[in-house]
């Protein structure tokens, strides 16, 4: 059972769910949308010039960043949330991200 489903079990009845359609903040982090993916982005470490355009465009905040010698650089893709929409691959000017079949 994933984290999202654990949360659902806790809030199941009309007496336990908050009234008035209130949803606690930050619940998107417990909703693992990665399993929606049919195609996955593959990031090429050697090609990447760290322009961060993919990070700006990613609707699911799934481009992972790290700090290295005072610079922010891409470190990979978070497949827990990445829905495989392909926007990152589309906006990458140097084809450092390409889309592949999920079950390849």
């Amino acid at each position: 059972m994933d984290k999202y489903n654990e949360k659902k079990d806790k809030y199941t009845t009309a007496t336990t769910i908050p009234i008035g359609d209130i949803v606690e903040a930050g619940t998107a982090s417990t909703f693992c949308t990665g399993n929606w993916r049919s195609r996955k982005p593959i990031w090429n470490n050697t090609k990447c010039i760290n322009c961060l355009i993919c990070w700006i465009y990613c609707p699911d905040s799934s481009i992972k960043l790290i700090s290295k010698s005072n610079k922010t650089i891409v470190s990979g893709i978070n497949y827990t949330y990445c829905k495989g929409c392909g926007i990152c691959a589309n906006v990458c000017n140097i084809k450092a991200i390409v889309m592949e079949e999920e079950n390849k």
């Binding site: 659902k8 009845t13 009309a14 769910i17 908050p18 009234i19 008035g20 359609d21 209130i22 949803v23 606690e24 903040a25 930050g26 619940t27």
Partner: protein
């Protein structure tokens, strides 16, 4: 008209609209968003003058439509402040989808609705079609017989809304109450302010330390539970309304309940009605009682939640009942109050009273004491078993068929 019972307040002559604005001045909601519409215009017009003159600290939002008025009121309430509005007829219709959002998000909004007929044909006079249409929207509905009741109901509505977390609609009959001047007892500002108290919402959107999402997509897995919460809150609201009414009596002297019983103790026949025409019925009953005719009145004050259990008990031993609706549901069956009364009785296993449905006063059509006396004649015939078929159809009072 209700004569003042106590001398705790000051006696003034005011119309229903003026007293609604006066109540709003004393409540001093943080936000009022409204759009003018006959016959409710004066309420927000007078209130906006209070704002312009600096008499109240409220924020007044002049919007371009009733849809926006309710939207802004919802937003203000969700943000965490007291929010009120007022409207009538077409204005209430235009708020329709937002009414359900107010109750669905459980926002304690108080709205003063002046009852007016719905177009077409266009008509500005009183009937209850507008608020009766909103009867299933999850709003508490409190109807007022007189200017005094409008005032008292609005003050109580603030607390009812905030305790039940349901929006409350206080109504008055267009022109009959909204524009007629009556003697009213108004209480001093401090007494009203201390009765309603400070508003401290448990959760509100501008509480940045405890963020949450309000009004998100709610599909098969949760929507049903949320709707049940509203239904349950509506049932529980009955106790809250009675408790607040009792506290109101302690503070200001005048007593209220979910409905008023008039000459019901030994009655064989009863009339059930809502709104200002209850006064007319009381006059007719006074005359009939002087001829030893045992007839009484049940005036429903709180229509939503419908006080089904108590009403069934009070009507159980009545032989014939006339239910007077000031709106026609055009359903091919019966009108709203009649349907609620009959189902309340039947669900309690009470099937002996004969109940007849009347529709009256649409578009402001007059209803007089003579009309009520004619209803008594029919009730008497039904009680004596002489006129059974009358109960199977809706009857129209003062209509040229």
């Amino acid at each position: 008209m209700i004569r003042p019972l106590s001398s705790k307040g000051k006696l003034v002559a005011k119309t229903g609209n003026e007293i609604a604005a006066e109540a709003m001045r004393q409540i001093e909601p943080d936000v009022v968003a409204a759009y003018p519409i006959t016959p409710a215009t004066e309420i927000v017009q007078i209130f906006s003058q209070f704002v312009a003159d600096g008499i109240v600290k409220s924020k007044y939002i002049a919007v371009e439509s009733e849809h926006s008025a309710m939207s802004a009121t919802i937003a203000a309430s969700a943000a965490g402040v007291r929010a009120m509005t007022g409207t009538s007829s077409q204005g209430l219709c235009f708020m329709w989808e937002m009414l359900y959002i107010a109750s669905g998000l459980r926002l304690p909004i108080v709205m003063v609705a002046v009852n007016r007929a719905i177009s077409a044909p266009i008509n500005i006079h009183c009937d209850h079609s507008d608020t009766m249409g909103a009867r299933d929207s999850g709003w508490i509905q409190i109807y007022s017989e007189s200017v005094q009741e409008v005032y008292d109901n609005i003050i109580q509505a603030v607390r009812i809304a905030e305790q039940t977390k349901l929006p409350v609609l206080v109504t008055m009959d267009g022109f009959i109450i909204s524009h007629c001047m009556e003697l009213v007892e108004v209480y001093n500002d401090d007494a009203v302010k201390s009765f309603i108290g400070e508003y401290t919402p448990e959760r509100y959107l501008l509480d940045i330390k405890n963020p949450y999402t309000l009004g998100s997509l709610d599909l098969q897995n949760y929507y049903f539970e949320h709707k049940y919460q509203i239904a349950k809150a509506m049932i529980d609201a009955q106790t809250t309304i009675v408790n607040i009414a009792n506290e109101f009596t302690k503070c200001f002297g005048r007593s209220y309940n979910l409905y008023e019983k008039y000459m019901m103790d030994d009655a064989d026949m009863a009339i059930v009605i809502i709104g200002s025409a209850a006064g007319t019925v009381k006059m007719a009953i006074n005359e009939l009682r002087s001829q030893n005719i045992k007839i009484g009145l049940i005036k429903i004050r709180v229509y939503r939640p419908f006080p089904k259990d108590n009403i069934a008990i009070d009507l159980a031993n009545i032989k014939s009942i006339a239910v007077l609706d000031r709106s026609d549901s055009c359903s091919g069956a019966f009108s709203p109050i009649y349907s609620d009364i009959v189902s309340s009785l039947y669900s309690e296993g009470i099937t002996t009273p004969k109940i007849i449905s009347y529709v009256y006063g649409l578009g402001g059509r007059e209803i007089t004491i003579e009309h009520i006396k004619n209803i008594y004649k029919t009730l008497n015939q039904i009680m004596l078993g002489k006129d059974q078929k009358d109960c199977s159809i809706v009857h129209y009072i003062n209509l040229r068929k």
